[in-house]
Structure formats: structure tokens, C-alpha cells
């Protein structure tokens, strides 16, 4: 047996180093010699721990490196990478002292695929919504033509609210419609839950339509409106929803599920309201038609009276004419019976001085004077 090993001497520079010392030293050397760098590789063996930290390896054809991405860093990402996904990572090479393992602490992770992780998460959520029928165009509800109360789900101090207020004040101002602000956090931690809670409250607010949105922002800022949870809350809203996420180029999940997608909050306010000036013109038009309608109606009545009058006088005329013809006919017959007509045919009438007609021979003794009526006059005569 030699001298017993001095455990404490092992910590000195002259003796053996402790494992801890070696790993710490290695870590210092590696971190100093390999400052944070971009690395590309394929993701393998991905595992998300309950703590929220992600563990996986990056590999290529010949090597692989253990990686960790802490929850504080991966929280900003819309979705975890999938197995075999090609990624770019911004990483700090280091030694994980507990295990003496060489590893990368990943600060940023980008997929090399089109659109990256955002796209991946978006497509996954979209597929889920599609499967549940939430993207069916037939689901889209009609907006009320003359809304009384318009809910605005947005940040109380964002530009979106001011833009919406301005448009509504111009087009369809109170008391025609009232704006009801349903305050929600639209970005950062807790934004999803806040927007979902605001959407769920719509049913209690006696509103006709809701505008959900925010002014523009980066893809990350808009992520709240790409959340499947928010999209489902939009679909479940008690009133038609106009999404106004303020990003003309990217369509969000919220846009897809909403009853109407507006490119900006101002456009959403325009879509939600009629234009007072146009409605006034329409009213004037209706007033004209109303007046014309009545005069048309009364004109019809007057026309009918006129027609009735015409028919009445027409009938009278006919009657008169008919009576006239009758009279003529009767007249002709009367005429035919007239004694003058008989005389005209050559007959004569004899009358005595008193005018009595003398019809018989014995009324004509010799010497009697009488008057003879012929067609063109009277003759004094005496019986021989």
C-alpha cells in the first residue's frame, strides 16, 4: 500500500483535477473559442419537457450535437420543429457540466422550409379548423345592415380603436350606433387568453356585430390572431365577427374563420356600418317614391271616376239616340195614319158649316152647301 490518496490535493494544480474542474475548464475553453454561431442541421430526437425546455439533437451525415432550447427562448416560436426538419439555429456551444456533454444552447431556431415554423404551426391549426368545418364559407354570417351596437375587441390604447372610432363617427355616428370597447391584450404573454375571454363576453353585451383586431405588426406580433384557440373563439362568437388584423399580406387564422376579413381596422369599421350620407339619399329617394306612389294611387281613382263618367254619358247618349230613332219610327207610323196622307192620295173630306164630317148620301140633300177638304186646301161646294 502506498501513501493514501489525498483527496484535497487532487484539487490543486499539481495533483489530479476533479471532474467538476475539468468540465468547467472545458466549458470555459469552448465558450471562449466558439462564440455564439449559426449552425444548420437536421432535428432528431426532439423532446419537450414539462418545464417547457426543448431537448433534441442536430445532425448531418457525419456528426451530431446535443441541443437544448430553454422555454424562455422557445416561447417565441409558434411550434416545435418536427423530426427530420432542416433548421438554422443560433447557438452557444458549451459543455453541460452535469453530464460533461458537449451541447448547444439554442437561442433562435428557423426552419429552412418555406415560411418556417410559423407556416408549420399555421398549416397544422388550419387543418384542424378545416376538419371541424370552421372554414366552411357557408358558416359565414351576414353582417347586420344597420348595427345599433358594435363591439370592438382590441387594445384600449391601440391605433386600431382610434381608427375605428374615427370611421364610425364619420359614417354611422352615435346614437345610430354605439361603440362598445371590449378591452383585450393583443400581443405578448396572455394575449390569446385575453382575446378569447373578450370574444366569449360578446354574448352578454347586447351587440350586433364585433370587430376583432389590432393595427399592423410583425408576424410575431400578429401571432395571437394565428392561434387556433383564438380562431375557435372567433367561430364561437355570438355575433358576426369582422377580423381586422391590419396586415394586408398575411392572412391569419382569425381572418379565415371570421365572417368577414377586413384588411385594416378602418376597413372593418366601414364594412360594419352603412354610410349616413348614402342612407339619407336613399331616404330622399323613398320619399319621392312615396309621394309618387300616392299620387299614382289617387290618379288611378280619378281616372276611374273619369272613365265611369264617360261610360255614364256614353250610355245616356246611346239612350237618347235610341229614343230619337224610336221617335222617328213612331213618327213615320203616325204620319202614315195622318188623314192628310189619305187626302194626298186623292181622297177628299166633306164637312158641314160646323166642321162635322159628312159621310152618308142622305146628309147631302139638293142645295146643301158644304166644305170640301182636299190635300192642298178647301173648296166651298153645293149639292145640285
Amino acid at each position: 500500500m502506498g501513501t493514501p490518496l489525498d483527496l484535497f490535493a487532487a484539487a490543486s494544480a499539481e495533483g489530479a483535477w476533479t471532474v467538476t474542474e475539468v468540465t468547467r475548464r472545458a466549458r470555459v475553453v469552448i465558450e471562449a473559442g466558439l462564440p455564439a454561431l449559426w449552425i444548420r442541421g437536421e432535428v432528431t430526437g426532439f423532446k419537450a419537457w414539462r418545464s417547457g425546455h426543448w431537448y433534441f439533437s442536430l445532425r448531418d451525415r457525419f456528426s451530431q450535437i446535443r441541443c437544448v432550447m430553454f422555454s424562455t427562448d422557445n416561447r417565441r416560436l409558434p411550434a416545435p420543429p418536427t423530426e427530420g426538419m432542416q433548421v438554422f439555429a443560433f447557438a452557444q456551444p458549451s459543455i453541460y457540466e452535469d453530464k460533461g456533454e458537449f451541447q448547444l444552447t439554442i437561442k433562435e431556431l428557423l426552419s429552412t422550409e418555406q415560411g418556417g415554423l410559423w407556416k408549420l404551426a399555421f398549416e397544422k391549426a388550419r387543418a384542424a379548423l378545416l376538419k371541424d368545418g370552421l372554414l366552411d364559407p357557408a358558416r359565414k354570417r351576414r353582417l347586420p345592415p344597420f348595427p345599433r351596437r358594435i363591439a370592438v375587441v382590441t387594445s384600449p390604447d391601440g391605433a386600431a380603436l382610434r381608427d375605428i372610432e374615427a370611421v364610425i363617427a364619420r359614417r354611422w355616428p352615435p346614437p345610430l350606433a354605439e361603440l362598445v370597447l371590449v378591452a383585450a391584450k393583443v400581443q405578448g404573454d396572455g394575449a390569446e387568453a385575453s382575446v378569447c375571454a373578450a370574444l366569449a363576453r360578446l354574448g352578454k353585451l347586447d351587440v350586433d356585430v364585433a370587430i376583432v383586431g389590432r393595427g399592423g405588426g410583425s408576424a410575431e406580433d400578429l401571432w395571437t390572431f394565428n392561434s387556433e384557440r383564438v380562431a375557435r373563439a372567433v367561430a364561437a362568437a355570438s355575433v358576426p365577427v369582422i377580423s381586422a388584423v391590419g396586415h394586408e399580406t398575411d392572412v391569419t387564422l382569425c381572418d379565415l374563420v371570421a365572417d368577414l376579413r377586413a384588411p385594416t381596422p378602418s376597413a372593418a369599421a366601414e364594412a360594419a356600418t352603412p354610410d349616413r350620407a348614402e342612407v339619407l339619399v336613399h331616404l330622399e329617394h323613398l320619399a319621392e317614391r312615396l309621394a309618387r306612389g300616392l299620387s299614382l294611387r289617387s290618379q288611378r281613382v280619378v281616372d276611374r271616376l273619369d272613365r265611369a263618367g264617360d261610360r255614364l254619358s256614353g250610355a245616356m247618349q246611346w239612350r237618347l239616340e235610341e229614343s230619337g230613332a224610336l221617335l222617328t219610327a213612331h213618327g213615320a207610323r203616325l204620319d202614315a195614319l195622318s188623314p192628310l196622307k189619305v187626302l194626298a192620295r186623292g181622297y177628299a173630306v166633306a164637312r158641314d158649316e160646323g166642321g162635322a164630317v159628312l159621310k152618308r148620301v142622305k146628309q147631302f140633300p139638293a142645295g146643301r152647301e158644304f166644305r170640301l177638304r182636299v190635300t192642298d186646301g178647301e173648296i166651298d161646294a153645293r149639292v145640285r
Binding site: 346614437p175 347586447d206 309618387r292 300616392l294
Partner: protein
Amino acid sequence: MPEFGEQLERLEAIVRQLEAEDLDLDAALKLFEEGIERLRAAREQLTAAEVKVKKALKGDGPSR
């Protein structure tokens, strides 16, 4: 007062009826009078507009 939308819908119906249906003068006059009344109310609603934004902050709906 009825909502603006209802008001306008009824007014439009009255105009259509007055234009299309064969009404006696009495019925037409009655419709016309109702139409004028609704027109007046609708105009009033449109013109009596004053900007005020009601804010329903955290957890409370409209106060009533």
C-alpha cells in the same frame, strides 16, 4: 322609437305596396301617412347623431 333598420324596412315595404298594389284611396292615404311618419322619424334618427363612445372596460358590460 323602433330601430333604424326596422323603420327603413317598413318604409320600403310601404313604398312597394303603394307602387304595386291596387289599393282604394282610403288605404293608400293611410299607408302614405304612415310612410311620411316613418320617413320623418328615420330622417330625425340620421340627423340627430352625436359622437360619443361608450367604453365597456374590464368585465363590465353596458351600464343600464
